[in-house]
Symmetry: C2
Subunit: 518 residues, 2 copies
Amino acid sequence: MAPAEPNALPFRAKAEIPHFAEERDGWKGYVEWEKYPEKKKQVQELMKKYDFPDPPEFQLVPLPKTNPVLTGERWKQYHYACGLDYIPRDSWDTVLKEKSADMIHVLQFPYNGEPPGDRLIETEMTDNKDFFVRNHGGIPDIDADQFTLDIEGLVKNPRTLALAQLQDETLFPRQSNIVTLQCSGTRRIEQIHEYPGDGDELINAPWGEGAISTARWTGVSLKRVIKYCGGLVDGADNIEFYGADTYFKKGNVHNYVVSVPWRKVKVHEVLLAWEMNGQPLPKIHGYPLRAVVFGYIGARSCKWLYKIRAIKHPSTAPVQMKEYLYYTPQVGKQNAQYSNGFSIQDMPVSSAIISPKNMDQIIHDGKITLKGWAYSGGGHWPVRVEVSGDGGSIWYEVPAENMSTKYFHAWRLWKMDLPVDAEGWLEFCVRTWDNAMNTQPTYVRSAWNWDLHVTSSCHRVKIYSINRSRPATAARLKQLEANNIPIVPITRPMPFDLETDDEYHTAMQSRAWRDPLE
Amino acid sequence: MAPAEPNALPFRAKAEIPHFAEERDGWKGYVEWEKYPEKKKQVQELMKKYDFPDPPEFQLVPLPKTNPVLTGERWKQYHYACGLDYIPRDSWDTVLKEKSADMIHVLQFPYNGEPPGDRLIETEMTDNKDFFVRNHGGIPDIDADQFTLDIEGLVKNPRTLALAQLQDETLFPRQSNIVTLQCSGTRRIEQIHEYPGDGDELINAPWGEGAISTARWTGVSLKRVIKYCGGLVDGADNIEFYGADTYFKKGNVHNYVVSVPWRKVKVHEVLLAWEMNGQPLPKIHGYPLRAVVFGYIGARSCKWLYKIRAIKHPSTAPVQMKEYLYYTPQVGKQNAQYSNGFSIQDMPVSSAIISPKNMDQIIHDGKITLKGWAYSGGGHWPVRVEVSGDGGSIWYEVPAENMSTKYFHAWRLWKMDLPVDAEGWLEFCVRTWDNAMNTQPTYVRSAWNWDLHVTSSCHRVKIYSINRSRPATAARLKQLEANNIPIVPITRPMPFDLETDDEYHTAMQSRAWRDPLE
């Protein structure tokens, strides 16, 4: 277990710890808030009594090297104050049970984690154990037999459906799609590193390149379920999703609520899924039922989905209205209003170099192999991936045979043997073109935004190139090998002279020494 | 006292600790090596018996936040092994006695330190207590009355002169000049931060913008002293300086030895100085006598100068031949030879923004005051300083009245009220033009070199701008003030909502919501 974050105040009860009963039998870790304004009010009053620990400063100072990277004491303590201390505890138990042992836990609670890079791009379909997780609260533990889904709001015939009904193929044909989900926080660390900001304030998970994964999802098209309820009425144009997880924001408590427009549902791009890669959803991924919204930011693919409401206008719940907004570079803490921001739905074209890693020092013979992923949301797909070994002056196309299958709604993995003649520090970068000829902004700076979302600029890694096909380098490597001294890290001093005094004099003579003679 | 560096092996004697006597009465901390090949050989054999601690890794991982930043265990242990343990100890005592308490000790031993930025640019002449120090060994403690200077090699009449003779105005007219000295490591931290490298292997001091200072130096022109020795003979074209400090490099021991070309001496640009800003040289700055070489890298201004030799070709001593070399970006650990490098003598045009500091978050009313220094070596001087608030697209000239006096061989301090309308993260940068219309390379990348010398690219600082003259920002600041909440650090979450739901709805209506209606 990780140590407490450096500036975490220990939790001390400052008011009576309430007991909020779980709402339904067989639904552990689920507290219904949205139906009970008085319960929400009670939490609001309670929260005012506490000074919760500040989130640790990791933007203006470097991130800790721990795993979990951040532990989320503040959010744990929200739960403690509400008598929900079992939620963070059970949530972490589920992580340990369901995810690979070597996940990078960017935030312990609410749990946020990404797989190590090499496994991320090993297979087109991400293993369920490795699939990235971005949670906003705890992980409910729901008995599928006791699960029901409410469909209400502006539908002709509101209904409550059991999971078995949704799975009844005489009612709803099965739909199965390969879909990539991506958190808009993917590659946030690049924005943090260059220009710290907010990252939606509460969580601010310092994601690397791994907040993206792909699976085959199976379930039913939401459109058919809405039709089964008689369709929409009264100008409804958005569909709201309610997740059974508890979500805190600015001293208030909510269930996790987001929405998608009806036009997205209409084209069968919103799935109610209970299967992930041929297996029941893991608890951490929304068991027993979740939404999967193709080509959208992952945040709309609501997990532990227990209620669907047809509404007019997008949801005004905080996750939809107050988070996942894309601001301009001049908007920040000093002037931001929610309405300045642009609500993130379709994800743009993006890509990343996963291997080699930033700051790697590579011995090669004139070629370096680059591997990574490329993705475009909103029904677009990567058509061309280009890599550069010189910071983006000369681009090489990844050959078609080195790119994985094309899907309407999924990433493509790619691999490229890049010719590298130059030595020293080089900047490798990648950009992807999608089928609408969208490509990526040039620098992180080009698309920096206050909440640090959607780092879609060309992904860049600095690589120190050691080209063994060059004679001087081959000689040096041989000399090091003979002395049993590794060349890396390159910052470790060379323990012997770089040339003999005789060699030096000969070389300097051939250069006519340093200065002119007259 | 600083803790040992993280990877420092404790020193354990592995051989008999020798006793190297100090060479001369009244010369403490001075061991003559150059005259005694057998003593050098003895040290060389001794050094082979030890595994000295590796220099700490601070390039591929962040620098410690300590002061001293680095302690130099490796170099201390070189001295321990040679029975010279009093040298690091006395050296640090001298630092504490002679330098300001708040110096930034970038390396404790050999001592390297720079003053805090605000004091660096407070006055044209740097206070002796604040003047940067870049030592390569300990600090000899020499009795001026027992001091002599040998002038030998390719001069007609070799002589040994007492300090009193040099100061005898009937023999030598006094010369006094305002001269800036700059270490070629100034601003090295920018190169380290972007692309780690070597930095001459042994010391690698992580300098900021403060390895530059200015003083009025008083003494005699070296040319007159050479003439007093009858002038040069036999094609001599360089003058070698011997410093009384002990200097280790790659398992060998030396006195500190460098050279300058005769043509530099001939124009009275090499001073033998005993006075610094009207006071005797502090011990740490070379008491009782040092060279001051105008417009050259500080490394040539040899301290504790006890011997001068006229020679043919530049010195082949390691500091001159094997350090302070300027490599091209493709030269590095894998292929570097000393002869690949260009020996740094004249320093190029350079400048730095000292205030505000990188990552500052500034509330202002449409203008931000920038302050810094500008310098050009080799007899050039800064004519024009330009600053940019947008990373280098639009440049503003610093008004002449905001620049300090022009000198042939010294920096100019400058100050500028820069109009800043934009908010958010901005990149401020400075470039200087000298009287030969030289200006600075654009990016650190433009002039990166393996030994991390001469970071002369435009100096850039990231600033978060909060412009109170804008209504939205003024309102937010008022709101924060009313709640007694500071706006900085900007990464600390805002504890209240950014606008009311009503305001949000009104604003969104005026934007026709997010999506088209049809």
